[in-house]
């Protein structure tokens, strides 16, 4: 059984799942940048007391699940979301939804994800895929980061749905239910509320580790990594930063380019020249994140590694923090019509 479903490739898995599932229920206006912006996806946080794979816990985007949740809520689309303790019930529920004609989003771990190259299979449990059919023992899978659809056997799918560790998916699945058609006016309002939420998250979260202040905080920390951790460990930390920033699914520049694309698309709904100008600031920020990544690579490749090199690396982040502070402040001051 194969549902009538269009595979869409996206930069980021959750954006992609959101875009595909919403398009599938008739929200024709939705695109990856719109889903990301309406879902207030852009973020930065460095949690110094948590370690991931023995490295720093750094994220360039909001918590897993929120983009889908916020976007559907902003567009007034009802969502079904379910976790399971029993593997049998998790599969039975999935099968029933497919029979009823719903493609279903699943949170999965990538460690046992057979179609991923081995090099990418870490214990990361916040990947998202869509199941859109079943042929004998194979489930038909639309993984948004892949160019084409793929398949998993029932054993393989069960294994990734019940991956263990941090953010264990517990068989979690979700899908939107078709409601009233989404109007351009709703999209327009959703864009405004998405931007306002993102402004708050980047400028107004108290404490030093999140948002624009988090970028500044990380920049200052990096300058101390060489003395504190030694060159080798500091190199590993920087490699982890770069992987979070660029690896599978950020669209480049730690999601900053997707956000810049979102502001351009927002202009089609709100003709305010400021949106295009601010979009350019996010492009500038994305470019600078990538320049910083090249500096980091010099360090973890061992080509450079003096304290001055670490200072230069830290200073890039301080500069980025300034650019993003200006950009979000400009978004905050927008006079919406």
């Amino acid at each position: 059984m194969e549902l009538n479903f269009n595979h869409i490739q996206a930069a980021h898995c959750e954006n992609g799942v959101t875009t595909s599932l919403l398009k599938n229920i008739g929200v024709q206006q939705i695109t990856e940048p719109l889903a990301f912006g309406i879902g207030a996806g852009l973020f930065f946080v460095y949690v110094p007391f948590i370690k991931i794979n023995n490295g720093p816990a750094i994220a360039f985007r909001t918590l897993p699940g929120l983009i889908f949740k916020r976007t559907c809520k902003a567009l007034n689309i009802p969502v079904i979301r379910k976790k399971f303790s029993s593997r049998e019930k998790a599969e039975a529920f999935l099968k029933d939804r497919l029979t009823e004609g719903f493609p279903v989003g699943c949170q999965v771990g990538v460690y046992y994800l057979t179609y991923f190259p081995k090099e990418y299979r870490f214990h990361f449990n916040a990947h998202n895929i869509i199941v859109y059919g079943q042929e004998e023992d194979n489930y038909l899978i639309s993984d948004p980061v892949m160019e084409t659809p793929t398949t998993l056997t029932s054993y393989e799918l069960e294994r990734v749905r019940f991956a263990k560790g941090a953010l264990a998916p517990k068989g979690q699945l979700y899908y939107p239910v078709k409601g009233k058609p989404v109007t351009d006016e709703q999209i327009k309002r959703a864009i405004k509320s998405g931007i306002e939420k993102n402004v708050r998250n980047m400028l107004s979260i108290p404490g030093p580790i999140a948002g624009v202040s988090g970028i500044r905080y990380t920049g200052n920390k990096i300058k101390k990594w060489r003395d504190k951790l030694g060159t080798k460990q500091a190199g590993l930390y920087l490699a982890q930063l770069v992987r979070m920033q660029e690896e599978i699914g950020t669209g480049g520049g730690g999601f900053r380019y997707i956000y810049a694309a979102f502001l351009q698309e927002a202009y089609a709904y709100h003709q305010m020249d400021e949106l295009l100008e601010i979009s350019k600031q996010f492009t500038q920020s994305g470019d600078l994140w990538r320049t910083a990544a090249i500096q980091a690579a010099g360090i973890y490749k061992g080509r450079i590694g003096s304290q001055e090199d670490f200072n230069a690396m830290g200073n890039y982040l301080l500069e980025i923090a300034e650019i993003e502070k200006e950009a979000f402040t400009a978004l905050k001051k927008l006079k919406w019509h």
Partner: protein, 135 residues
């Protein structure tokens, strides 16, 4: 980033699928472009794996020296710690700590060994002999 600057350094992922990047065209408008990888990312991932390989080699030596059971080798190879392995196998953490001792490991039943073997994608014989499944 301009469209023509989207890097095309072939990565392990690039052999299987290209990734979507967002970049600007000549008029400054954002478009989705496909990239087959970026050298900066490839070396970041290599750096992480080199670190893991070092830990795997150290674990192998410990097992050969009879200072640890083969579980240690497979844990490092699988990038797992005791608590994650406990989640996957259903053993308690204190049980796994015991099973990491060579003399305790040697006395484990095949049934228990099978629980570890499945998590590590090997069979019981391979588990005992630190053999990795090619597939």
């Amino acid at each position: 980033m301009k469209k023509e600057d989207v890097p095309q350094d072939l990565s392990a992922l690039g052999k299987i699928t290209k990734e979507v990047c967002y970049a600007t065209d000549s008029s400054g408008k954002y478009v989705a472009e496909l990239s087959q990888g970026w050298d900066v990312k490839i070396t970041a991932l290599d750096t992480a794996w080199k670190d893991i390989e070092g830990k795997v080699a150290a674990a192998r030596q410990k097992v050969l020296n009879n200072e640890a059971s083969p579980l240690l080798f497979f844990m490092e190879l699988g990038i797992m710690d005791i608590s994650l392995l406990a989640d996957y196998t259903g053993f308690w953490k204190w049980q796994i700590k015991r099973h990491l001792k060579p003399e305790v490991f040697k006395k484990l039943s095949d049934k228990k060994l099978q629980r570890y073997a499945e998590v590590f994608n090997v069979n019981v014989e391979q588990l005992k002999n630190m053999q990795v499944n090619g597939a």
